[in-house]
Every structure is written in C-alpha cells, then in structure tokens.
Symmetry: C2
Subunit: 367 residues, 2 copies
C-alpha cells in the first residue's frame, strides 16, 4: 500500500446535528465526504475530503444510462468510553472489489481506501451518535462517469464515501416481522448480478416489496429465479432457520449476496458449538418442518438490523407463525453478541473490530 | 393532453458541429436538452429546454445507489427534402411508461412528452445530419433523485432528453457479424427487469461482452436464464432466424425486451406474406436446423443497426456459418425497407413516420 496524499477542504460553516431520536435511516449526511477519481492514465487518483455537496454530472454519464456502479454499507459505532469502532471493514472493501469485478469496474486498493475511510471518520467523529442502537452508516459507492452512450464499460469513475448518522433499527425493542414469500418477481439469478452489491438488484425489487407492503407485511422472502422453490434471501438480508436444533442458511449459489453478518453468524455458531449448515433449502421443505413442529426459529442478518427475527411467513395464503411470533433464543444471543462486540460492550475475542478514530487521535498531520 | 408551458433558455454560444464522418455513437451532444421534474405534489412539472449542461446531483441521490431509472432510444432522420422524421415514436413513449411501471417510477403523459420532444428537435434541427446512414439519436431518461439511502422508490425524479448526432452503423456497408453464444452469464430472467429498458440490464452484460470481444467476436447471443437453452436476444437487439422459408423470433416470455424494430419486422413480413412466428426456440433446435441445411438467415433488429445480419454463431467451440457469411435476402429487404421509410426514400404505407420538425416550422410562439 502506498498512500497518496489526501487533500482536505474543510467546511466553513458546520451543519447542525440532528437529535438522535430523529435520525431514521440515510436522511442526514455529515459535513464532509471522501472523493477519488479514476481514469486509465492515472488509475485511482486525487483522494480528497471535501464539504458534503452535490456533484456535477453530465446528463450522458454512463451511470444514468447503464447502471455501472457498485456500493457498500457498513457502520461505525461509538463505545461507552468514546472509542469509534468499525466491524470487519476489510470484508466490505473486499466485497466492494468483488462487486466491481462483476461490473467491469476497476478495483480499488482495499487497505488504502480503508485508511481514507478512517481519516474521514476521524474528521467526522462528532457525528457518530451515542444513543442505544444508533450508529454512523458508511456508504462507499463507485459510479461510471464517461459522457458516452455506448453500451460498454466506462473509462472514468468517481468513488465516494458519504456518512449518515442513523437511528436505532429497533426503537421499540426487537420485534419479529411478518414476511411475504414472493412467487412472481425474482431478485437475482445465477449468471446475473445477485452476488454483487450493485444498484440494479435493489430497485428491481421494489415491485415485490410493494406487494408485501400492500398486505401489511414488512418484507419479501426471495426464492431462486430458476425453479422458484429454493429460499435465497429476505429483503436485503441473508436468512437463517433453526430446524430441530440445527441452524441452516441457504448456500452461496451464484445469486445470493455474501453478507458479512451472515459470515459472522456462521462463525459465532461454530464457536458456540451450535450446528450450522450452508445448504439448499426449499420453501416446501421449510413448510414440512413447520408442520412437523421442527421449525424453531427464523431470522434475517444484515448490517442495518444485525438480526431481524421473522415472526410470520406468508406463503400462498398460508400463514406460518414461527416460535409463537417471539424472538428465538439463538437469534437473541446472536443479536446481543454481535451488537455487543460492535459497541465494545462484549469482549471482541475474534479481532473483528477496528478502531476508526478516537477523541485523542491527531488527524491533522496526514491531511 | 394539457400542454404545460415550456420554458426555453437559449444557449449563448452555439457549439461547433462535428463532421459527419467523426460522429460515432453517443459522443457528441447538441446545444440544448429537455428537462422536467417530478414530485408528489406537483406531479411532472417545469418542462424546460435549456443549454446542454451538467446537472447537479446529491451524492445520496437514489439513482447512484439503487438504480431506479428507465430510458428510451430512438432516432430522428433527415429526408432528402429536409424533412425530419421520427419512426413510430409513440411506441417509445409507451415502452418508457411500461418500463417505469416495472421500476415503480411515475408515468409520463406520452403525448405531451412526444410534443416536447418535437419542440426540442425543432430547435436542434440543424443537428440532424444528412449523410447516408447518419441520424440524430434521441435519449429520454428518467432518474430517481431523492437524497435518501432507504431502499424504497424515490419521491422525486428528473426526466431528461438529450440528443446526439450519430454516424452510420455501417460505414463500410452492411457486414454480417460473428456472435458468441453465452452459456454462463444471464442478461435477464422472468420475474426480473428484462422487459424494462432500465440501466441494470446493460452493465450487467459487460462481462459476457468482454468474453466475446476477447475471442474477436462482436456480440453475445443470450440464452434464457432458467434452462440456458432457449434463445432470447443478441447484444441489445432482438433476434430472428429464417428456417426453411419461415421466419422465427423468440416469443415474448417475460425476460425479452419488446423491440420496436422487432414489431416492425413482424408487421412487414406479414404484409409481404412471408410466414413469421413468435415461438420458443432452443439453441439445440437451431443447431439441428443448421445441420439439416434449413437455417437460411439470422439477424438482429434494433434502433441502432436496424437490421444486423449474423454471419457466424460460435456455440461451445462449434462455428455455425450462416448463409455463407453473407446478408440474406429477407434481412436485406427489411433493412432497405425500414431505413427507406425512416429516411423518406420508401413510401410509408403504414403511417409509421411522424414529422419531428421542418425548416418551415415556426417554433417560437409556443416557447
Ligand atoms: C441483498 C443483500 N443481502 C444481504 C445483505 C447483508 O449483508 P451484510 O451482512 O454484509 O450487511 C445485504 C446488505 O446489507 C444485501 O444488500
Ligand atoms: C435489450 C434490448 N433488446 C432489444 C432492443 C431493440 O429494441 P428497438 O427495436 O426498439 O430499438 C433494444 C434497444 O434498442 C434493447 O436494449
């Protein structure tokens, strides 16, 4: 890693910070953002931290027409002694590059960008909220910027990191959600872009979400796009089931996004000696387990909610009520452990947390 | 249709127009562009024609993160007596709305927008090139603009129309192309976004195109995403085969984009009494027809090339040479007829052309 000098343009008039009970998700942005450009001659260059502001984009820029873009999502957490922690951020950098490969976007230097992120957070550390369940959401995103309507990879890109203080996912405490099993729409299919964190996979899912919302249900359970039988994900989360004492999650099959919370969940279960398997599982099998009384828990995993227990699954007019609509023991233990590690309340035995910035860190020399 | 008053801000210093032999595709843009905004209170509002210029977009705008966007592509052609013609543009407006429905984007008033487009072209009419095979490419596009990272439909949008003079697709005369049958990557799948003209479907295809390019082949033949057996499209075109005197094109199956050139091709063949069928056709069947000597022609259809004859299909290390690598009779007749109608050289018996603007049209009163 050879670090490029990073330019810093400080915002003159800092913004007023919102109250932590108004945060919501992705509505407020901090004072500064990180930018870096790519072209074929200079590779990734001009890393800089500037006041958060609109960017100027040509109407013919490829991002608007052909969707060549990838992104990441992770969080910074404030501990009780005012440390600021990131959770396994090197995994996000790695996944960003995996997504980029799929989308024909030039890769970034993972270590270097993580370092830039840490500098950005050091500058914005006062924006990391401290109330229970709150955090600073981090959104790295790469967009294709060539002003050219040819259907081909862009030769220029902009990489941005924006930061948004976000509220608790569970302001009223964890409550299991009701999920609609989607039979018509497909999120992703083998050979497509489902394993990449890219724009397309998200807006293509709005129609299915609309149907769930209309029925008063909170999210969609996605089945595979080929046979419409096998369970893939839930909303924008990976999904786990506890069946007869054993935890099962759909195996990575070329259309499922490999979640970092999924990975951490599997690793924790292994540490705890709770049997966990990655395997194909069909909705029909799950249904049979349910009726045999063997379906003990169901939950989603993802950065936003960490663990999202599933209380009900609606499948073709049948309602499967799981664990009497209550959060299960395993889900609860996972939630407490992961959020505990993230916020420094539970000892991090696995080396998962990385210090982003602390009050005593001196940020000026390198800027 | 109630037409809104359209504001016109004229560019002070008009651009220098490129020579028609330098045009290429989508590299040069005209002096002005059309813009219109959407919000929940005002619906689509503020239609305006302004100097072509970069737009200012918040880094958190939904277009950058979740790809909620749709677009269209059509052309304006200059006739020998300096009329400017559009080819079935009402179909593009209709398809734009169909795409929008799939992507949870508010629909536009088709007639109204066509009218705005005509006004824009009237202003930019000197940009419609006259050399053989050249035209003015028209790109309407809608982008989601909410500054909000929630994974949900945007509440605000911008609609833009930009114009680009484009060169002949066949500067050296029509030459059949070599096509690679793609076995691994998938363009689109039933339940996904393949029937919509939306960004995601294009950049997701770059990887497959890369593989074709590496082998010196010009485009990809897409198979269905479910069984990887049935033929869907070729590059960004629909595809037709002449087999034993009959023309066959894959039936619309929920993952194929319904092309306007495809539709026109089917209608012309019907008018000419050449049998044409929309049906499922597998690569294995095509291969069998080829070896029986029954595969007589193959060609793609789309706005960019109109008709693109396929000279070779490379499928699992076998090369199928079609019609000795020459353009077929039906493809040639379709090409001559459609381009003839588009440019006013062939009488338009079907009412397909619409006048966009003429030298004598008075554009100022309505502006
Ligand atoms: C489609 C999808 N699946 C799963 C996940 C969960 O991944 P992670 O645990 O890394 O947040 C995400 C992102 O958060 C996602 O977008
Ligand atoms: C994926 C795809 N298929 C087919 C076509 C052909 O459609 P049309 O004939 O309307 O140009 C296009 C667009 O041009 C396309 O993008």
């Amino acid at each position: 890693m050879t670090l490029q000098t990073i330019a810093f343009e400080k915002r003159e008039q800092l913004k007023q910070k919102p109250n932590s009970d108004q945060l919501g998700f992705g509505k407020y942005f901090t004072d500064h953002m990180f930018l870096m450009d790519y072209d074929e001659q200079k590779d990734w260059h001009n890393p800089r931290i500037v006041p958060y502001q609109s960017i100027s984009v040509d109407p013919s820029a490829m991002i608007f027409h052909y969707g060549q873009t990838v992104f990441e999502g992770l969080k910074a957490y404030r501990t009780e002694d005012d440390q600021i922690l990131l959770f396994r951020p090197e995994n996000n950098m790695k996944r960003l590059n995996q997504s980029s490969k799929r989308m024909s976007i030039p890769e970034i230097d993972e270590e270097e960008v993580l370092h830039y992120l840490q500098q950005l957070i050091a500058i914005e550390q006062d924006w990391v909220p401290s109330a229970e369940g709150t955090s600073l959401y981090i959104r790295p995103v790469v967009i294709a910027t060539d002003p050219n309507l040819s259907v081909e990879p862009s030769k220029t890109y902009t990489f941005m990191i924006i930061l948004s203080p976000v509220g608790s996912y569970y302001p009223q405490g964890i409550k299991p959600v009701s999920i609609r099993v989607e039979q018509q729409y497909t999120r992703a299919v083998k050979g497509g872009t489902g394993t990449a964190k890219t724009a397309a996979n998200y807006s293509g899912a709005y129609k299915a979400q609309e149907k769930a919302t209309e029925q008063g249900l909170s999210q969609v359970l996605w089945l595979d796009g080929i046979e419409k039988k096998y369970i893939e994900e839930v909303g924008s989360m990976n999904v786990f089931f506890k069946i007869d004492g054993e935890v099962i999650t759909p195996e990575l099959n070329g259309s499922i996004l490999e979640g970092i919370t999924r990975k951490s969940t599997i690793e924790l279960l292994n540490h705890w000696g709770i049997p966990v398997k990655e395997q194909k599982i069909s909705m029909a099998e799950l249904h049979a387990y349910y009726h045999n009384g063997k379906l003990e828990e169901a939950f989603g995993t993802g950065t936003a909610a960490v663990i999202s227990p599933i209380g009900e699954l609606i499948w073709e007019n049948e309602k499967l009520v799981i664990n009497e609509g209550q959060i299960g023991e395993v889900a609860k233990k996972l939630y407490d452990t992961i959020t505990g590690i993230q916020t420094g309340k539970v000892k991090d035995r696995y080396g998962w947390t990385v210090e982003a910035a602390s009050k005593t860190m001196n940020t000026s020399p390198s800027l």
